[in-house]
């Protein structure tokens, strides 16, 4: 590339357009410049989701609530699964909340790029904005469903605790897990539309591999760390610990989950950034 040397350096506000390079930068500064677009796309997803539904945003409440009722009847009353001495409905609802946040965000972010393919082929912006905004839209549903949890905490007279302050940390873990998997799947989806069919199975299996309907104490002690390779295990255990004070010994599991999650996230980010130059050509 000898021609680059003959050129004067471009002024600060200019853009250099070059073939895809080898290095990967996260492009966080540029992402920050496009934060308003991130806001508007999230706002669009939230706004559009419940348009033309009779119940509207009530769906965000009903989905975890109805699942909780079903689980309470089948697993709590009929199968009598142990719930560490905590009333089964609140035991499972504290797990359903982060799970649904994860599952919805994962599902919508995995199809986000192909749903916005018009944008990708016609306008420039950091492509990360798209999966991130669909994950953020899932967060809004979570906040709505969280109100029910507050009601249940009062109803079951769960005592307040300093542990509750750690909750946002576990919400963040759930969000980043969803984004991590979402980045992988959305990128794959650009090239292979198979992803669309894989995601429903994936979330279904994943749910049973996560201690939502049951307690992780059912897993033999020696397998627990292996079990925690599922990042959602750590999130769910964390939620239960923060809100209900259960699972005192879950610390190592949360740690393992967090490490796996960070690795998955960094990998997903790198894969996404590497592939995004070709999105407009392939999608």
């Amino acid at each position: 590339m000898d021609q680059t040397e003959t050129l004067p350096l471009p002024p600060a506000d200019s853009i250099v357009i070059e073939p895809p390079g080898r290095g990967i930068s996260l492009g966080l500064r540029e992402l920050w410049r496009y934060r308003e677009l991130l806001f508007f796309l999230t706002w669009r997803d939230v706004k559009v989701r419940y348009k033309q539904t009779a119940l509207g945003a009530a769906w965000a409440l009903l989905q975890p609530l109805l699942t909780m009722v079903v689980f309470s009847v089948i697993f709590g009353s009929l199968a009598k699964l142990p719930s560490e001495g905590i009333p089964y409905p609140i035991f499972t609802y504290t797990a359903l909340l982060p799970w649904q946040l994860f599952a919805f965000s994962l599902t919508s972010s995995s199809t986000s790029l192909i749903n916005d393919q018009r944008l990708i082929t016609k306008v420039y912006f950091p492509r990360l904005v798209i999966p991130i905004s669909s994950v953020l839209a899932g967060l809004i549903d979570f906040l709505i469903a969280f109100v029910v949890l507050l009601g249940m905490l009062i109803f079951y007279q769960v005592p307040l605790s300093w542990r509750m302050l750690s909750l946002p940390l576990f919400v963040l873990l759930a969000v980043i897990s969803a984004l991590a998997v979402g980045l992988w799947l959305s990128t794959l989806n650009v090239k292979y539309r198979d992803v669309r069919y894989v995601v429903p199975f994936l979330t279904q299996f994943w749910m049973y591999a996560t201690p939502i309907a049951y307690s992780s104490t059912l897993i033999p002690e020696k397998w627990r760390l292996l079990y925690a390779l599922n990042p959602m295990t750590g999130v769910v255990e964390g939620f239960r610990w923060a809100l209900l004070g259960s699972g005192e010994g879950a610390g190592p599991m949360v740690l393992v989950s967090a490490v796996i999650m960070v690795a998955l996230f960094i990998g997903g980010l790198a894969y996404f950034r590497r592939q995004e130059d070709h999105f407009a050509d392939v999608i």
Partner: protein, 422 residues
């Protein structure tokens, strides 16, 4: 001398045909393909096309530059690279200033959202700040003329309203460099005029404009310079807009050549018809030599094509352009009463159309085969491009001793004159 706004150096873009033709792949196919590839040389030449080859040019600040060329010449690829939607395969471009690109109007419009909401969403997508959108909101609404429906979801809009709103947002984008692709080709004539006016305003306001269009009239009005792309290469770049347009319209043929277009592989395919040949002939099918004289029996336009799929609304006709890109007319075989229509068959068809003498004035023209499903979709859009031929008309204006030289005007009809009955 104003500073350079866009500097393009040896830009090339390669597409693998397999990847761009199949819209997407299944995992299985991709595995099968790689199995098939074993034992075959990689990158076999037929799977690769160069959309751009070694393109270099510079645009100075405040210049309005038009980019013309036939379908597949690389115009859109060039704009996509300069808008940073896709990356070049080699070479580079430097852009000094904020770029706003408009490759489509209404990108990101959501049908469920109201007009008001879409203004904000679309504005943000085009790169406007929220405060900027708020400031220009009333202006945008006024320009779009949809005040009454501002709070109606755009899915209830007519297509005209939709386009007006979309263009109104786009028109209020104020980047230093504006990149525009064929967006003026939408909306009704009156609105197009308004859009053109807005574009003119933008370029006169000292901003740099890159403008792709098939509308030669618009290019001529707006642009001070033209880049003519052919097969991914810059075949001309000059401030002599008129000459380049003429060169483009005439397809680089010299006027002594024979007026025939033959099937070419780079013509984009469709599921309905494959054009095979367009030719100017005499009545018995012999190819004419140019220039065509106005006084003989007239000229026959022979259209040969293969129909792959029949539809009652399928129609193949011609569009005729003057050399500066103005559309003279379209003509279809079913312009007359129904029992006179020629019926298309599956397989090879030939249609012939008679261009009467003493209709067009002396000059250069371009004739194009066009095809559509009536009132539904364009199969081959009239855009003064392929499949088509340029031709010239010279001589034979009339037998009158007073009309031997070319008069102004597009048409040169000999009309019937009589004394009044008074």
């Amino acid at each position: 001398m104003p500073e350079i706004a866009i500097q393009v150096q040896n830009l090339s873009k390669r597409y693998r045909l397999g990847a761009s033709q199949a819209r997407y792949k299944m995992l299985r196919e991709s595995i099968m393909e790689s199995l098939k590839q074993i034992g075959r040389p990689k990158n076999s030449p037929e799977t690769i096309i160069w959309a751009l080859k070694d393109v270099s040019f510079e645009v100075r600040q405040g210049e309005a530059v038009g980019i013309i060329g036939r379908n597949g010449a690389g115009k859109s690829t060039l704009l996509k690279i300069l808008s940073r939607i896709t990356k070049p395969t080699s070479g580079r471009a430097l852009i000094h200033g904020r770029v706003g690109s408009l490759l489509e109007v209404g990108t990101g419009f959501h049908p469920e959202l109201t007009g008001r909401e879409n203004i904000y969403l679309n504005g943000a997508i085009l790169g406007m700040r929220r405060a900027e959108i708020e400031r220009k909101f009333d202006e945008i609404v006024a320009f779009s003329e949809i005040e009454k429906f501002l709070d109606t979801p755009v899915k209830f809009y007519s297509s005209g309203m939709y386009v007006r709103l979309a263009f109104a947002v786009a028109a209020h984008l104020e980047p230093e460099i504006l990149v525009v692709d064929e967006v003026l080709a939408v909306g009704d004539a009156q609105f197009q005029k308004k859009c053109l006016g807005k574009m003119d305003e933008v370029s006169k306001g000292g901003r740099t404009v890159l403008f792709v269009s098939h509308n030669m009239g618009a290019v001529e009005k707006l642009c001070k310079k033209v880049i003519f792309l052919e097969d991914g290469m810059v075949s001309a770049y000059s401030p002599d807009v008129n000459r380049i347009i003429r060169q483009y319209v005439m397809g680089g043929y010299d006027s002594l050549q024979h007026p025939v277009w033959n099937k070419s592989n780079d013509f984009p395919s469709n599921e309905w018809i494959v054009p095979e040949r367009v030719a100017l002939t005499d009545e018995s099918g012999n190819i004419k030599t140019l220039p065509v004289s106005n006084d003989d029996t007239g000229v026959w336009v022979d259209l040969t094509f293969t129909v792959n799929k029949l539809d009652p609304a399928l129609v193949v006709g011609i569009a005729l352009y003057s050399d500066d890109g103005e559309l003279m007319f379209w003509s279809y075989p079913n312009d007359e009463v129904e029992d006179k229509w020629p019926r298309l068959n599956l397989g090879r068809n030939q249609l012939r159309c008679h261009l009467p003498p003493h209709l067009l004035n002396e000059g250069s023209y371009h004739i194009q085969l066009i095809a559509s499903l009536h009132f539904r979709l364009w199969i081959i859009e009239p855009n003064m491009s392929q499949p088509g031929i340029p031709f010239t008309i010279q001589g034979g204006l009339s037998d009158s001793p007073y009309w031997y030289a070319k008069r102004p005007g597009r048409l040169a009809p000999i009309l019937e004159w009589k004394m009044g009955i008074e």
